[in-house]
Structures are given as C-alpha cells and as structure tokens.
C-alpha cells in the first residue's frame, strides 16, 4: 500500500510505529522459538553438550563422527532418502490427481470426497490401526485374509521383518499425507478462471489432458509450489509413525530415519551437541530439497 523507500530509517520507523507494534508480538515468539533454535542448533552442533555442564567446543568433530563413524546414521540417511524420494513425489502427485478428479464433481459429492481423502491426515492416532492390520498373528487383517485365501500357510511378522518395514511405513505415510497441500490444490482448482477453459476450447484444446497441461497446471503454479514445500517437509520429517508402528529401535534399523536418530540422541541419550548436528544436517537437507524443487517447478507451464 505504501512504501518507505524515500524515508531515512529513523523517520520510517517512527512513521510505521503501529506496524512494528503489530508485528512485534508474533516476531518475538517467532524469533525466540523458531529462529533462535535454528541458530542455537548450528552453534551447539560444534560442541559436546549433555545439559548438565556447559557446552564444550569440539569444532567439526560431531560432523566427522556423524558422517564417517556413525554406521546407524548412514542407515538413517539411506532410509530417509528412500522414504522421501518415494513418498514425497508420490503423495504430491496423488494430492494433485485426487484434487483434480474431485474438482469434476458437483459440490456435495466433492465435499464428501474431500473429507474421505483428507480425514486420515487429521484423525490423530488412527494410523495405529495399521498396527492391527499388519499384526503378526492370525487376527491381523492382512495375515488373516492372505491365509484364508490360501496364499500364506503361516502368518508373516510384518512389522518385525526387515523387508516389509519400509514398504509398510511408506504405505501408511502416503495414506495420511493428503493434508494441507491437498486442500490447497482443491482450492486452487476452484479458482482457475472458467473463462480460460472456454478460451482454450475455442483455441483448439482437444481433450482433458491438454487442458490439464496447458491451462490448469500453469494457472495453479503458486499452489503447486506451496504444496511441494508442505510435502517435502512432511516426507523428510517422518518419525512418529516409525516409532509407533515398528518400535524403536526397529529390527536391524530397517525403519530408522534421520528423525528417529535425532530422537535417539536428543530424547534418550541427552547428547545434545550430537543431536543438534543431526538436526542441522536434516535442516540443510530439507532446505536444499525445497529450494531445488522450487527452482524446477518455476519452469512448469
């Protein structure tokens, strides 16, 4: 609305006194509990700190240990990357496809279907039902039906068998990942200007796929970028479902992610310096992926 470019800093600050007052309460909380923690973890990542004595500066030792010596961490990186590379794009694409299909429905079925897909992400700990579905006895849904159908002779120990842990976690994560970005896509699709489709039809767009590629996707670019940020952040920070479904530590660390590694050192061993190193690593990884994907998405359409 107004610009402060012409004014010297002091005068501008005086002129916008009220605006500063408005931003101040949030800014204080934001700086204290979001900016400062990031700064603190970067600082602490160079120290050895167990909360009882003062941080002891150790330079790059934590980073060296993390990358060179900590074998479990390598498993965690591998798992997290596999997880993020599979669930990130997949859930992103699913969010979009379902939003796109739902958008074709009239209002009431649309509202119902929106709820059907969005409900898993807001229903708290309902994902624990997967523990029941993949239970290792014959009462587990998966086992029971596979046995009933004669496909299995003995129940499979789904959640304690190394080979099944990751796939199950991925399925569960995808199931509950249609969250804020899904809503954002639905909303975005509803605001695409109808006149664009009419114009497109006149200009010779033949089918829905062309319509999708030439009109819908470019018009939704801002929502697509927002959704990407949300999905990337979520797919990298998975830990709770791993802790709850396959336990900690999971069999041969098959469900071990960077976040559970962080949980291990921060909440169980109280090696805060080392935990902060892990946090900084994950932080940089998320930021890097987000910025990369933003760059790619800007090229669409």
């Amino acid at each position: 609305m107004t610009t402060a470019n012409k004014l010297p800093l002091g005068a501008a600050m005086k002129k916008y006194r009220n605006q500063y007052l408005m931003v101040a309460p949030f800014a204080i909380v934001f700086i204290l509990f979001t900016v400062l923690p990031v700064a603190a973890s970067i600082f602490l990542s160079f120290t050895s700190f167990n909360m009882t004595s003062l941080p002891d500066f150790t330079g790059l030792r934590n980073y060296v240990t993390l990358i060179v010596e900590d074998d479990v961490f390598l498993t965690a990186i591998k798992n997290t990357l596999v997880f993020a590379i599979l669930t990130g794009p997949l859930s992103y694409i699913m969010c979009f496809i379902f939003a796109w299909l739902i958008n074709e429905l009239p209002p009431i079925p649309r509202a119902i279907m929106t709820l059907v897909f969005y409900a898993p992400s807001i229903s708290g700990n309902v994902y624990l039902v997967w523990k029941l579905i993949f239970s290792s006895d014959t009462y587990g849904y998966a086992n029971a039906w596979l046995m009933k159908l004669g496909f299995l002779q003995e129940p499979i120990y789904w959640l304690t068998t190394e080979a099944y842990i990751m796939p199950i976690l991925i399925v569960v994560q995808i199931w509950m990942s249609l969250g804020v970005s899904f809503l954002s896509f639905i909303a975005g699709l509803q605001t695409v200007d109808r006149a664009m489709y009419e114009a497109g039809a006149v200009e010779g767009i033949k089918n829905r796929w062309q319509e999708l590629w030439y009109i819908t996707l470019p018009a939704m670019k801002p929502q697509l970028m927002f959704g990407a940020v949300m999905q990337i952040t979520n797919s990298f920070s998975v830990s709770q479902i791993s802790l709850d479904l396959v336990g900690f530590p999971s069999v041969n660390y098959a469900g071990h992610t960077i976040m559970t590694h962080l949980h291990d050192y921060g909440n169980l061993r109280y090696e805060m310096g080392y935990a902060c190193t892990i946090a900084v690593f994950l932080f940089l990884l998320m930021l890097f992926c987000n910025i990369l994907v933003q760059k790619v998405l800007r090229k669409i359409g």
């Binding site: 609305m1 605006q19 923690p37 602490l44 299909l101 587990g140 849904y141």
Partner: protein, 364 residues
Amino acid sequence: MAKKKKNLYQTKPDKISFLACALRLVIAFAAGWIAFYALSYGLIFLLQGELPRILKSILILIPFVTLFVAFIMLPNVQTFLRKRRLRTRRSLAVDIALMIFLGIFGIFSLFPLVYTVVNAFKPMSEIFIFPPKLTVDNPTLDNFLDLSFILEGFDIPLSRYLFNTLIITGLGTFGTVMLGSLAAFALAKYEFPGSRVMSQLIVYALMFSSAVTAIPNYLIMTYLGLVDTYWAVILTAVGGTLGLYLMKNFIGQIPDSLLEAATIDGAQEFTIYWKIIMPLCKPAWITLIILSFQQMWGTTGGVFIYSEELKPLSYVLSQLVSGGIARTGVSSAVSLIMMTVPVAVFVISQSNVIETMSTSGMKD
C-alpha cells in the same frame, strides 16, 4: 463454423438433485469396492492357478460393472461428472476409468477409518475371530465402558486431562490467530524497513519442520523456566508460520482501496485491522482456528510437559492405545473419540478452509 463449434462443447446447464448425486456416489463407491476386491482376488487366484475362481469373481463383478456403466450412461451424467458451462469434450471411457480409479483410492483411504470405527463397537469375542470381519454382528458399547473403567482407575481424573487439553488448545489457537493476524496484516499491506526480510523468513520457516528445532527449543524453554508448563507447548505452536503465511496471503488479496478509504476517514492502523480486515478475512481466521486446533488437539506434550497432572488428553489416550493386543477394542474406541472431534470440526468449516486455501499459493 458455428456448427462445428456446437460439436466441440456442451453448453447445457446442469441441474441435479442432492439425492441423485448421493445415489451416484454410492454406486461409484460400490463399483470401486468391487473392483478393488476383484483385483486383489484376481491377482491371488491368478498366482495360484485356480482359474474357476477367477471366473467366479468375474461373474460376481459383471452385474456391478453393468450397473456402474449404466449409471455413467444416464442422460445427465455428463453434468454429474462436470459442472462447467463450456468445456472441451470428454471421452466417456476415460471418465469411467477415472471414476473407478477415484473409487479404489477412496476405499483405500476410508478402509482403516472404517475398520477403526467398526472395531470400537465390536465385543471382545468378535475382535478375535478368524478371519477378521469389516462388519459387526452384535454391536456393543463395552469398549467405551471399559475405557471409562480404566480411566477411573487413574490417579488423575479424566476431567483434569480434558481441562489441560482445553487450556492448551484454547490459548494456543487464540494466540496463533491473534498474533498471526496482527502480524499478517502489517506485513501484507505495508512496506516498512524489515518487512521484506520478515516475510522471506516466514517462507523459509515453512521449509523445515518444527521437529528439527524441538531439541534447541527444549533448551530455550529450560532456560526460560517454561518447561513443564502449558506455555512450553503453546508458545512453540504460536511460533509456527503456516498460519501466518496463509493469513498474509489472504489479506494480500483484499483490495487496497478499502484501506485507503478508511485511512482518509482518519482510521488508525489498529482500527482498520479490527473493523475492516478481521471481518473481511473471516474464512482465513476460521481456517487458522481449524489448523491450530487440529495440531493442538493431537499434541501429547512430548518432552515439554512431564508432570502427570499437566499432560493433555491425547497423551493419556495414546498411552492406552499402546497397551497391546488385549486392549484392541478399547484403543479403537479411543481412536474413534480422538478422530471424531477434528473431523467434525473440519466438516462444519470446510467451505471456509477451502476459500482460504485458494490464496495459499507461493509467488515468485
């Protein structure tokens, strides 16, 4: 030319009753369900080489497929599938395929939820039958009674946990909405030294999850003496930026001319905020309430609260859930209670949320 145009798009306006919509949705779901089963059965039998059974399942499938196709073919189905004034032609086959696809994934999404709801009403004898069923023969409230019985045995009454949750959820939600909307208004509508940096920081803060900062946050809370108080949970939530980000985008699309008019009439920024911005961005703050409610409702207090009498409801309930196989029924009852509230809240406020989300996009 005119004739060719007519072939290209449908111009028929659509009128369709709620009942018809609901009926069709039900049919679409039934067809999706059948297709889902047929696929899984088919795959299994194929692998076992029991051909007759595949034929059987195909036979079962045929009436449903016919039904589904018939429903797609209904004269005004075209308008059911798309509510557009003018659009390019759609092929019916692809329409059908896409609806089945949507149906299958709808079932996949709904199945665990339905399973939870059904389990919550199953008596013990039905939970442990082989094979497990998705229906309940003798629905009972035993699980809920058991739950209240277990909770009575606790040192701290349920009402205390509920009180904690209400305080945390209430204050956290209020804080997020108030602080968020004040800051969002100033950042969206005015440009002052530092406002750009702040806006940029907020976008960057979206790019990492708050879990990353949990440990240093814990240290800061310890330093401030806030650990083991409600504030530790409330303030970390208020410091999140998703709400502010959505609010800022929503306020950004309110025309400047409204504010200019108010400024000319002599209104101060706080008056503008309260009298003009807040009423206009009702959908946005309702959305913020929903999102922060969902987040706060599910919080277990984590490392920030360790006193038993300050723990929120979801903590004690999740303790019950992890009680093992004998508590299957009770834990389903718990899950049902925990999910009902946020789902109900979302159902009530869906249109507001969608309206806000339409401005959630990221600009370059």
